[in-house]
């Protein structure tokens, strides 16, 4: 029987949009389905359920939307539990003060933080460590719904609270936050970790997914910039001398992970800025002559569009790019294959502009000019794109960018993360305390 159940609900991996827009990446029904299973299991076994980075990005709207689902499940099953809600949204004034104190530094290859980036940020969240989870559990929580959180914090809070080795607990947590992705074949099924004094054992709950020393070692490197370990608030987990050993065909034993504390204790702040609205249009080029001439065609049409719009649309108000799938759609300028000649090319016309109207106008002008551009050697004068449907210009929503990705030195690991407690009895919210 597990001592607790954890769920990592979000990431920055999905890009800046969800944090900016305040939306969950996924449908409410699916969130309901997953959360219902986890919550019912936690209550049946009477063990804590910890949800981190609620609602994909862990800001206030994300936490609120997750709670909305949670309360509906509680009501449906008349569940009783003590709920802790850990908030992770950061006030701009807090970051402004930290910047003025010189207690902000870039997290990785990111430009230094400016007051302008703070002012223009749509939303800021802090990525909590284990301490807020521990405080929630010490406050008697049966269920914790946390905003933006370190993946490892969600799954290491209970063992660290109970005095287990921090390095092992964090390494274990870092692996199981991706469920059975560390297995062979990797997948999304639940995983069980067994933590002891000097090792942990991983076992996928799907008998067809095997945790092997190689697959677990590989996953220990997942999404981390360096191979010797990974940083967490308050220190680093050193995995350079870890032993991965098989325990039968299905399980792997891990030992030797070490926690190296480091000061000052820092929290990463993530923030995004709204940069525009996107329209796209897609069409396939099949004519071998057009395919051969693709680079010239796209370069020339881009110039024509810019010339056409001159005087009516400010160039600063739009960004047009053609994405030729089949040539370098996936890698852009980083593509290393020389002069690929596919049978066909999907050209995506991609416009980001300061208003949806401008984006739509530019997209339609670009699409038409691409459709009817007369390149050298043209035979097919009816048009250059096979468009699968019409209307063919599609609104693709708001566009955000990560502009804040910085470490802030804090005096107290809890200072950014307010915790509210709510007693739920038979599915009904009763007392609320902070």
């Amino acid at each position: 029987m597990p001592d607790y159940i954890g769920a990592d609900m979000g990431s920055t991996d999905i890009g800046p949009y969800y944090l900016g827009k305040g939306e969950i990446d996924g449908h409410r029904q699916i969130v309901f389905r997953d959360l219902e299973m986890v919550l019912l299991a936690g209550r049946r076994l009477d063990v804590p359920v910890l949800v981190g980075t609620a609602g994909s990005a862990g800001g206030k709207p994300h936490v609120d939307k997750t709670l909305d689902v949670l309360f509906e499940i509680a009501q449906k099953h008349r569940l009783s539990f003590r709920l802790a809600i850990i908030h992770a949204e950061v006030d701009k004034s807090y970051l402004t003060a930290k910047l003025a104190e010189g207690r902000v530094s870039p997290c990785g290859p990111v430009p230094a933080l400016t007051q302008g980036s703070i002012d223009k940020a749509t939303r800021l969240v802090g990525q909590m460590g284990v301490e807020p989870f521990v405080a929630a559990l010490e406050g008697g929580a049966d269920v914790v719904v946390a905003g933006r959180a370190c993946d490892a914090a969600i799954f290491s809070a209970v063992p660290i609270m109970r005095g287990y080795d921090i390095g092992l607990a964090m390494h274990m947590a870092k692996i199981i936050e991706c469920s059975s992705l560390c297995a062979e074949p990797g997948g999304r099924d639940a995983i069980m970790a067994f933590l002891s004094k000097d090792h942990f054992i991983l076992e996928s709950m799907n008998p067809e997914r095997h945790s092997t020393p190689a697959s677990v070692a590989a996953h220990s490197l997942y999404e981390q910039p360096r191979a010797d370990g990974f940083s967490e608030p308050g220190g680093k987990v050193d995995i350079s001398e870890v032993r991965y050993e098989s325990e039968g065909n299905h399980r792997t034993k891990v030992s030797g992970s070490k926690w190296i504390p480091s000061l000052p204790y820092s929290i990463k702040i993530e923030g995004v800025e709204h940069v525009g609205y996107r329209y796209i249009s897609m069409g396939a080029m099949r004519c071998p002559i057009a395919v051969r001439e693709i680079r010239t065609i796209l370069m020339r049409v881009q110039e024509i569009v810019d010339e056409l719009l001159e005087g009516s649309v400010d160039p600063a108000d739009y960004h047009l790019q053609f994405r030729p799938y089949g040539i370098h759609g996936a890698m852009g300028d980083g593509e290393v294959a020389c002069d690929p000649r596919p049978i066909e090319i999907m050209v995506m016309t991609d416009v980001v502009a300061s208003s949806p109207q401008i984006a739509q106008s530019v997209c339609s002008v670009a699409r038409y000019n691409l459709l009817h551009y007369f390149y050298d050697g043209i035979l097919a004068t009816g048009g250059n794109l096979a468009m699968p449907f019409a209307p063919s210009d599609i609104f693709a929503g708001d566009v955000f960018e990560f502009t804040v990705y910085h470490l802030v030195e804090v005096d107290d690991p809890l200072e950014l993360f307010k915790i509210d407690f709510v007693n739920v009895e038979e599915g009904v919210r009763c007392g609320e305390t902070t």
Binding site: P109, L221, E223, G276
Partner: protein
């Protein structure tokens, strides 16, 4: 000479946060791993040339306990920003597949 993709069980790219891209080369065993390390080609200069990046941007780490090599570079465009082509950074590994390992 052996091609890198014939010596590995995993060869992937992935975001390491929205501003970095990391490549994991997990070899199919200690022999392949040691052969790759002995070849000396998995260094910042050669990998930078392969990835069309500058040498100072590239880190190459060895992870012997996992028979793995990790290469990390800053992203040209941060994840999901206007010019980005790959929000998850998971389809950037192809330039490494054909590396010839002596």
């Amino acid at each position: 000479m052996v091609k890198l993709h014939e010596m590995v069980r995993v060869l992937r790219s992935k975001n390491a946060g929205p501003f970095q891209l990391t490549y994991d080369l997990i070899f199919d065993g200690i022999e392949s791993y040691e052969r790759a390390v002995r070849s000396g080609i998995f260094n910042a200069r050669d990998m930078a040339a392969r990835l069309k990046r500058s040498e100072t941007e590239v880190t190459v780490d060895l992870y012997p306990v996992g028979n793995a090599i990790k290469i990390t570079v800053p992203r040209i465009h941060s994840s999901g920003s206007v010019g980005d082509t790959d929000v998850f950074g998971c389809q950037q590994h192809a330039p490494l597949m054909e590396i010839e390992v002596p």
